[in-house]
């Protein structure tokens, strides 16, 4: 009866020391977020506004995209449109090839993960260097991100230290101090920035009125990626476009407070034109399913997401199971929903990774109804052919039991006899309830009889 998620989570939980650290670390981030939110009287008002702006924007997105592209072209930027991942990868490769690019540095972009761009380019002989420290670590390790904002959170400083020794990035064997390791990575990446032929960034926002691509980073790697190489390509999903600066102010104030509990990222950079000494800038707008998702009556609001990561930081299941327990590349509540929009057959196993506590939608800066949507997905599993047959059978039995008072009273009256079944039989692998906790003890008198005694 275990889902793919719970099986994977079991692996994660084998290392209890790490699992506790993971849980505590994200709870600390959640607490930092709370300090930021409570520090602003207008926080809830901002959430209301952010939600309403997004609802408006994504239901008028065709108009804003047109305005954005027109403004960007007026700035001298070449705007490309990709209907899916394949087309996106082809466009990127085409641009790089036409400039004879051998090496490209890039800042963090979940879109390029979504489109699996790096392997596509590497197969064609282009070296891609991730420059966000966390992304660089997992790239060197040959792994995928386990969190959208803290991609290497599944590794500790010893893991990173050993990796850097192996890759020749650090030269003091056994020095696994994070400050030292960060400095060694800085030197190594500095060399990459200086020798790359192109720089790619994602974008946190596209501004329809001005054509700006806005990128928020703490490391400054998006700015480094675009300051030395002669070519800048920016790639964003359609839903990243917002109307104007007035709206941007709302999101800029919330993104980092919600995501990492900081008042702002160190850098909030606006790219409107290429550098005077560079080739002209390219922006690629990627659909890859988004124009289908907007039609989904229950799930279109997933397009409101600004990828701050706060829903996974607060999620009790994410905190205790880690990013790799989910089958979609984005974990946590938003990843469950986006995975189901992408391919419900493949990602149904994730919808069980939710206690419906709704903490996610309580912290979400754009008031995305993440938990409600997960509940909705569960109702549709039978339609997708991914409902668990055992659970279906149990549900049928339960509706029969709870639908008939006579049968219910009869069953609860007899239940205490189950207490006499020897523990090894009751708590064996055949009883899914006994997995992870002991079988409960049934009271001798069921509740209905107890309450009658009190009333008399």
């Amino acid at each position: 009866m275990s889902t793919q998620h719970s099986k994977a989570a079991k692996q994660f939980l084998k290392n209890q020391t790490y699992a506790h650290w993971h849980d505590a670390t994200f709870w600390a981030v959640r607490s930092k977020r709370d300090n930021m939110a409570y520090g602003l009287d207008e926080w809830e008002q901002l959430r209301e506004k952010a939600s309403a702006i997004k609802r408006h924007t994504i239901t008028h997105l065709d108009e804003y995209l047109d305005q954005f592209a027109t403004a960007a072209e007026k700035n001298g930027v070449e705007v490309h449109w990709a209907k899916d991942a394949q087309e996106f990868n082809e466009i990127v490769y085409g641009i790089l090839k036409s400039h004879n690019v051998k090496k490209m540095v890039k800042s963090k972009s979940m879109l390029t993960e979504e489109c699996e761009m790096n392997p596509y380019l590497e197969e064609r002989g282009i070296e891609v260097v991730e420059t966000d420290l966390g992304e660089r670590i997992i790239q060197l390790k040959g792994q995928k991100p386990s969190h959208i904002v803290m991609p290497a959170i599944h590794l500790n400083h010893d893991d990173v230290g050993e990796l850097f020794e192996e890759k020749g990035i650090s030269n003091e064997k056994g020095n696994h101090d994070p400050t030292y390791l960060t400095y060694r990575a800085r030197l190594s990446l500095r060399n990459e920035f200086l020798t790359a032929d192109a720089g790619m960034t994602g974008g946190n926002f596209g501004i329809a009125e001005t054509g700006d691509i806005v990128v928020c980073t703490n490391e400054g790697n998006a700015d480094m990626s675009t300051s030395c190489p002669k070519l800048h390509i920016a790639a964003i999903g359609l839903e990243k476009v917002i109307p104007n600066y007035e709206c941007l102010a709302v999101f800029q104030r919330m993104l980092c407070r919600a995501g990492t509990g900081q008042p702002t990222t160190t850098y909030t950079s606006h790219f409107r034109k290429a550098r005077p000494t560079a080739h002209h800038m390219h922006i690629i707008l990627v659909d890859n399913g988004r124009s289908d998702w907007i039609a989904n009556p229950e799930h279109w609001e997933s397009l409101k997401c600004i990828r701050c990561g706060s829903c996974m930081n607060t999620c009790p299941v994410y905190r205790r199971s880690g990013g790799y327990s989910y089958s979609y590349f984005i974990p946590g509540p938003i990843g469950i929903n986006l995975g189901m929009l992408r391919d419900p057959q493949k990602h149904s196993g994730n919808v069980s990774a939710c206690t419906l506590c709704l903490s996610c939608q309580t912290v979400c800066p754009v008031k995305l109804n993440l938990g409600d949507q997960i509940y909705q997905w569960r109702q549709q599993l039978d339609d997708f052919g991914t409902a668990n047959p055992q659970k279906k059978l149990m549900c049928r039995a339960m509706s029969m039991l709870y639908g008939s008072p006579g049968l219910y009273n009869f069953a609860t009256g007899l239940a205490h006899w189950a207490n006499y079944i020897p523990s090894p039989i009751m708590n064996c692998g055949l009883n899914p309830w006994a997995d992870g906790h002991k079988m409960m003890e049934f009271p001798k008198k069921p509740f209905h009889e107890l309450i009658k005694d009190i009333e008399h």
């Binding site: 670390t25 065709d62 966390g134 960060t182 500095r190 400054g220 030395c228 909030t268 606006h270 279109w300």
Partner: protein, 195 residues
Amino acid sequence: MASKEDILKKYRSNIREQFDMPDLSDIQAVTYPNPLLQFMNMTKSVGGNAIEVEAGRDINELIRELFPDAKEIASNLPEITIATRNPDEVGRARDLNGTDVGIIRGSFGVAENACVWIPQTMKEKAVCFISENLIILLPKSQIVNNMHEAYLRIEFNDYGYGTFISGPSKTADIAQVLVMGAQAARSATVLLLPE
């Protein structure tokens, strides 16, 4: 290849219900009795350094005192006489690598989060990031309360680039330990200048 029209047409036809733009004029954003003080405190809390410069103080001398060991100093600001490199005149952006101190000008600061608006005013913006230590010159009268006010004020020139900078480059990507100096400036100092 899909055209813009195909994608937009498909998106448009799939929208089921439309919502109005909310009124944003009633946002009751935080303001401070002393925005300058708030800005200075925030700068410190994000790992930066904010110094109020007294009237008549020699800026070049002050920078020398702050970074006595600096060999390569990059700036295109006319009042900076100690610069050894000029981001307007380098052949390639990468020639700015190895800069110990980069000195740039900010237009205004934001009290709520210590952001300083830096429009590109040099040929190679690399100086803002590649320098080991960054110094931002900012008139101390130019502090706004919050980002709503900030976005009403930002201006672009022909370079078509601008950034808000709040403190030094930082990361916590290794085991969530906060380290200053990831890929860009390892320290950031805002010199608050008198009128």
